[in-house]
Structure formats: structure tokens, C-alpha cells
């Protein structure tokens, strides 16, 4: 589905992404983890061509991204932004309909089919009751759902999420992740999620990509990636890693500085 070949990107001087190569299969749920400045967001931005890499290439279904128009990309890859604000607020339904933009081209008005697709997306994300509200009147959790619905209205094959659980309380985190997981499992969407929350990444993702200073430090299943050695080497702080008592996935516990470690 997505192939990266020796991808490198820099803003000015230093390489922010340095010689990245990996492949993502259709239907995978992949997490991108790593410390601040390791290149997570930059990687997501190159994947939807917000940034153009200086070296290497990205293939989407074997077609180089550089040979596709912005519209063609938008039909395959949807982005759920971290937080956006509109200068002048729109209603929820209007926001979701904007997801139809890549299909409309130079058409000015959405048709009945577009409305139907938008409504289905809103039903899936359970925001039909708030469809007439203004986007700036919503809570953070509701707003996240609106952007998921907009992404779904794009009828994409891949959804990119950048720190989707930041600013959400635990209830909304669980709700939101459940929604994403159901999109992945039931609709077969390929998900790429950059996250700071290692436990969430470990619990939900099929595969993890651990970045350090723009390079892949480790790629593999959560069990292969989330180990004490890797995390301590990449993040530079001591952690405790054991198995989650219920899910059985690796679980990280943060340790105070200077906490003595007794292996059990």
C-alpha cells in the first residue's frame, strides 16, 4: 500500500527525516512513536505531500506520490488534524461535507450522493445529533469526531492521525480509539498514528515504528519494539516495562528519576 524508499527531508540544515525505508500493508494499524523532534509529524506530513522530501520517494499503490495530483492523493489519504480552528466558524455538517472536496473538483455544490456519504460518516462517528452546531461550540472530543467524519467523507484508504488523543480525557481517549480501531477492523482502513502515549500505541497498533533523530530505531510488533532497552535508549529516561494484566501487551510505567530497579 505505502512504500518508503530512502526518504530524507530537511527544513534548512539538519535532516529531520534521515534515510527512512519501510512498507505498510493494506489494512494495517501502524503506530509511529519517538521523542519530541524525532520526526513523527514530519513523516506524516511527507505522506500527504504537505512537505516534499529532498531525497527518496514514497509510493502509494506503486505510484510515486510526486506523480499524483493533490486531489488524487486526497481521495486515498485523509488526515485527521491535531487541532484546527477556522477563522469564521462553520457548522458541523458543512465541515464534514468539505471532505467531499476532492471528488467535486471545480463543481461548486455538493449533490445528494455527497450528502448521503457525509451523513453515513456522521452516523458512524455518532455526531448526527450535533450536525447543525457550530464547530467552535463543541468540546474537544466532539470536534475530534467531526474531523474523523470529514476524513471518512473523503472515502480514503489510509487515515493519518497526529497525536489524536492529546487534549482528550481518558473517557474520550477510549471512545476515540475504539472508533479508530473499528474503522480499521470493520472498514479495512489503513491507519497511521503518531502518538506520544506508548501504552496506547502498544495496545492498539499491529506494528510500531520507533523513531530516533529522524531514523528508524526499531520497527516491528509492539512486543519487539517496546522493551526497556529500546525505550531507555531512545527517550533517555528510565522506565519499567511489564505485560498488561488484561491485554497482555507490553506496558510502560514511568519511573521517578533515581528510582532503584529490582528485577522481579
Amino acid at each position: 500500500m505505502i512504500d518508503l524508499h530512502a526518504l530524507s527531508f530537511r527544513y534548512r540544515q539538519d535532516w529531520v527525516l534521515d534515510d527512512l525505508s519501510f512498507q505498510i500493508e493494506r489494512g494495517e494499524f501502524v503506530g509511529i512513536i519517538g521523542p519530541n523532534g524525532s520526526g513523527k509529524s514530519t513523516l506524516l506530513k511527507t505522506l500527504c505531500r504537505l512537505l516534499s522530501p529532498q531525497k527518496g520517494e514514497i509510493l502509494l499503490d506503486r505510484v510515486p506520490l510526486t506523480e499524483m495530483s493533490q486531489r488524487e492523493i486526497a481521495k486515498k489519504i485523509a488526515v485527521v488534524p491535531q487541532e484546527t480552528y477556522s477563522l469564521f466558524p462553520f457548522r458541523v455538517i458543512e465541515m464534514v461535507l468539505m471532505g467531499r472536496s476532492p471528488y467535486l473538483g471545480s463543481l461548486l455544490f455538493e449533490g445528494p450522493k455527497d450528502l448521503e456519504i457525509a451523513q453515513r460518516a456522521m452516523a458512524w462517528t455518532e455526531i448526527l445529533p450535533i450536525s447543525e452546531r457550530f464547530i467552535d461550540e463543541l468540546s474537544g472530543g466532539e470536534r475530534k469526531r467531526v474531523f474523523i467524519a470529514r476524513a471518512l467523507a473523503q472515502e480514503p484508504e489510509v487515515i493519518l492521525l497526529d497525536e489524536p488523543t492529546a487534549n482528550l480525557d481518558i473517557h474520550h481517549q477510549v471512545d476515540f480509539l475504539h472508533l479508530i480501531l473499528s474503522l480499521n477492523r470493520e472498514q479495512g482502513l489503513t491507519i497511521l498514528m503518531a502518538s506520544h502515549d506508548l501504552n496506547i500505541a502498544s495496545d492498539y497498533c499491529d506494528r510500531l515504528i520507533l523513531l530516533k533523530e529522524g531514523r528508524i530505531y526499531k520497527i516491528g510488533s509492539p512486543r519487539e519494539v517496546i522493551t526497556r532497552e529500546h525505550i531507555e535508549a531512545v527517550y533517555g529516561c528510565s522506565v519499567w516495562v511489564d505485560d498488561h494484566p488484561i491485554s497482555g501487551m507490553p506496558r510502560i510505567t514511568l519511573l521517578k528519576k533515581g528510582t532503584p530497579l529490582h528485577e522481579t
Binding site: K45, C48, R49, L50, S69, Q70, R71, E72, I73, A74, K75, A78, V79, P81, T84, Y85, S86, L87, F88, P89, F90, R91, I93, E94, L97, M98, G99, S101, P102, L104, S106, L107, L108, F109, E110, L115, Q119, S131, E132, D136, Q154
Partner: protein
């Protein structure tokens, strides 16, 4: 579920066009010679339907060759400035933006002042031409300064425009300080915005700029909605953002240049009408652009009628009226309801 359809856009536009027609009717009635409503309407209708003239020759001449062209020009300029203001607010993502913010007005003024100082009559074609040339040079300069690495950054464009504008303002001040008394009065009137310089042929000059500019902008109106939530956002939804920004910058600037070169700097219209139209009809450019154009046209015609009559026989610069009414009205809007929720 309520969504915007072509039908709704047409319905709103028709309603606002009726209102505009009513404003035009009032404006051709009032003045030193008062023409009663039925007579005015019959003269206008006969003219529109190309029927043979009535027996009221004097009234007919006053309305058809003086007041109507002036009302139509005021309408076009009002519509142009409002549309251009709406576009600049979206493009620069700044609610304080207006058609003059990027210095087009100052460039235009420098051109006009040079023409006046060179002895060209304020009523000749030389003045609008010189003024238009000044505006075009400014548009090109600001665009050149505001584009870096092949991209237009709204904030850099804004800075480039504001700085170019204030540099040109210094040149205007310089010319004002060295000019003679008689010219000074003309220049000041021009700077405040005035339709008395305009002649009916002006209409033919401005119409193509407005027509082509508006059509291009309306063609991109749906994409302009996407840019309101940020460029990355629009890009992710498949919009070729750079092309959109360049096109809307050029169209809005040319409309402004054509308006300013014909009747000087009419303030406030391009700032408050977009906000007023947004309060009434929402931020969707597919509805907002025509609504803003029609409301702006009605507003400026009404202001010009007041400017002609309020202190008759003295005629005030229309800029005085737009500011005198626009200022308090805008403060009222601000207090009543937040114009921009993020402010």
C-alpha cells in the same frame, strides 16, 4: 439536513437584487430636483425596456444621464470593494483585512497625485489611468516581496503590503506638502473617495475587471472555504493552495485597483460589508460572495445619495459618509455579537 444549494444562493441573490433595485430607485429620485417615485420608476422601466421616452424631458435627462450612471458606478465600486475585502480576509486569514491593506490604495493614490501635479485634469481619463498604473506597480511589488521560495505566506504578504503601503503614504505626504493650494483640495477630495470625478464611461472601464474578477473568484468559492481553516487543511483536501492564493490575490487586487482609480479611496466598505454579510449569511463563500457584492452595492449607493443630499448644494466626499455610518455600525455589530469568535 440544511445544506447550501444553488437554489438558496439564487433565492438570496434575487432578494438582495430587489433590495438593490429599491435603493437605486430612491437614489435617482433624490437630489436638487426631486422626482416622484412613480415617475422615476416609469423612466427607469422605459429605459430598461427600451421603450420610447416620456414627455418629462428634464427629469429623464437628470435621471438617465446623471443619477443613474452615478448610482450604477457607486454600486459596482461598492460590490467590488466588498468582494475584494471578503477575499483578503480569507486569503490573509485576518478579520481586519480590507481591500487597501496590501497597499494597492496608496500606490493608486501616488499615481493619481502625480497625474494631478503634472496638470492633468481630475475629470480626464489621464487620472484613472495613472492611478491604475500606480496600483498595478504596487500589486506586482507586493507580490514579489511577499513570495518566498515559490510560496505565498499570508503573514509575509501582509507585512510586505503594509510596509509598501506606508512607504507610499510617505510619498503621498511629501507630494501633499509641496503641492499648491488648489491642487491640494482636489487631492484631498480624491483621497477621501469621491464619485463626482466619475463619468458614465467609467462604468465601461470598471465592468470587465469586476465581471472577470468576480467570476474567477466565484469559480473558486468552495475552495476558499477550505482555506479558512488553514492552508495545510485545504491542501489535505486536494486544493492546489498556491494557485488558489495567487489567483485570489490577483483578482481581488485588480478589482480594488479598478475601483480606486475611478473614485479614490472609499474607506470602510471593504472592511465592514464582508463582516455584516457573514453575520447575516454565514462564512460560506458560495453564498457570501454574491451577498457581500449586493449588500456592498446597496450600501455605497445609499451613502453616495446621502453625500449628495445631506448638505446640498454642497456635495460631501462619499468616504466621509461611509466612515460616519460604517464606523458606529461596525462597533454596534462588534458589541452585539462577536464578529470573529477567535478574537
Amino acid at each position: 439536513m440544511r445544506i447550501l444549494t444553488l437554489k438558496k444562493v439564487i433565492a438570496v441573490s434575487l432578494l438582495l437584487t430587489l433590495f438593490l433595485g429599491w435603493v437605486i430607485l430612491i437614489s435617482v429620485m433624490v437630489g436638487s430636483v426631486r422626482v416622484d417615485p412613480r415617475q422615476s420608476l416609469s423612466i427607469l422601466l422605459r429605459y430598461v425596456l427600451s421603450l420610447k421616452p416620456t414627455e418629462h424631458e428634464m427629469e429623464e435627462t437628470i435621471i438617465l444621464s446623471l443619477r443613474l450612471p452615478r448610482a450604477l458606478l457607486a454600486g459596482l465600486v461598492g460590490a467590488g470593494l466588498s468582494v475584494s475585502g471578503t477575499i483578503f480576509q480569507a486569503l490573509l486569514r485576518n478579520p481586519l483585512a480590507d481591500p487597501y491593506i496590501l497597499g494597492v490604495s496608496s500606490g493608486s493614490a501616488v499615481g493619481a497625485i502625480i497625474a494631478l501635479l503634472l496638470g492633468l485634469s481630475a475629470y480626464s481619463f489621464g487620472l484613472p489611468l495613472a492611478s491604475f498604473a500606480g496600483a498595478l506597480i504596487t500589486i506586482a511589488l507586493v507580490f514579489y516581496f511577499g513570495r518566498q521560495g515559490g510560496r505565498v505566506h499570508p503573514n509575509i504578504l501582509l507585512l510586505a503590503g503594509v510596509i509598501t503601503g506606508s512607504f507610499l503614504s510617505a510619498i503621498i505626504m511629501f507630494f501633499l506638502s509641496i503641492s499648491q493650494k488648489e491642487e491640494l483640495h482636489t487631492i484631498i477630495f480624491w483621497l477621501m473617495g469621491d464619485f463626482s470625478f466619475a463619468n458614465p464611461r467609467s462604468l465601461i472601464i470598471i465592468l470587465p475587471y469586476f465581471g472577470v474578477g468576480f467570476s474567477m473568484l466565484y469559480w473558486k468559492s468552495r475552495q476558499l472555504n477550505l482555506i479558512l481553516s488553514g492552508e495545510e487543511n485545504a491542501l489535505q483536501l486536494g486544493v492546489e493552495v498556491e494557485r488558489l492564493k495567487i489567483l485570489s490575490y490577483l483578482c481581488a487586487s485588480l478589482i480594488t485597483a479598478a475601483s480606486v482609480s475611478l473614485c479614490g479611496l472609499i474607506g470602510f466598505v471593504g472592511l465592514i460589508i464582508p463582516h455584516a454579510a457573514r453575520l447575516l449569511f454565514g462564512p460560506d463563500h458560495r453564498l457570501l460572495l454574491p451577498a457581500s457584492a449586493l449588500i456592498g452595492a446597496s450600501f455605497l449607493i445609499a451613502c453616495d445619495s446621502l453625500a449628495r443630499t445631506i448638505l446640498a448644494p454642497v456635495e460631501l466626499p462619499v468616504g466621509v459618509i461611509t466612515a460616519a455610518f460604517g464606523g458606529p455600525f461596525f462597533i454596534y455589530l462588534l458589541r452585539r455579537r462577536k464578529v470573529v469568535k477567535t478574537l
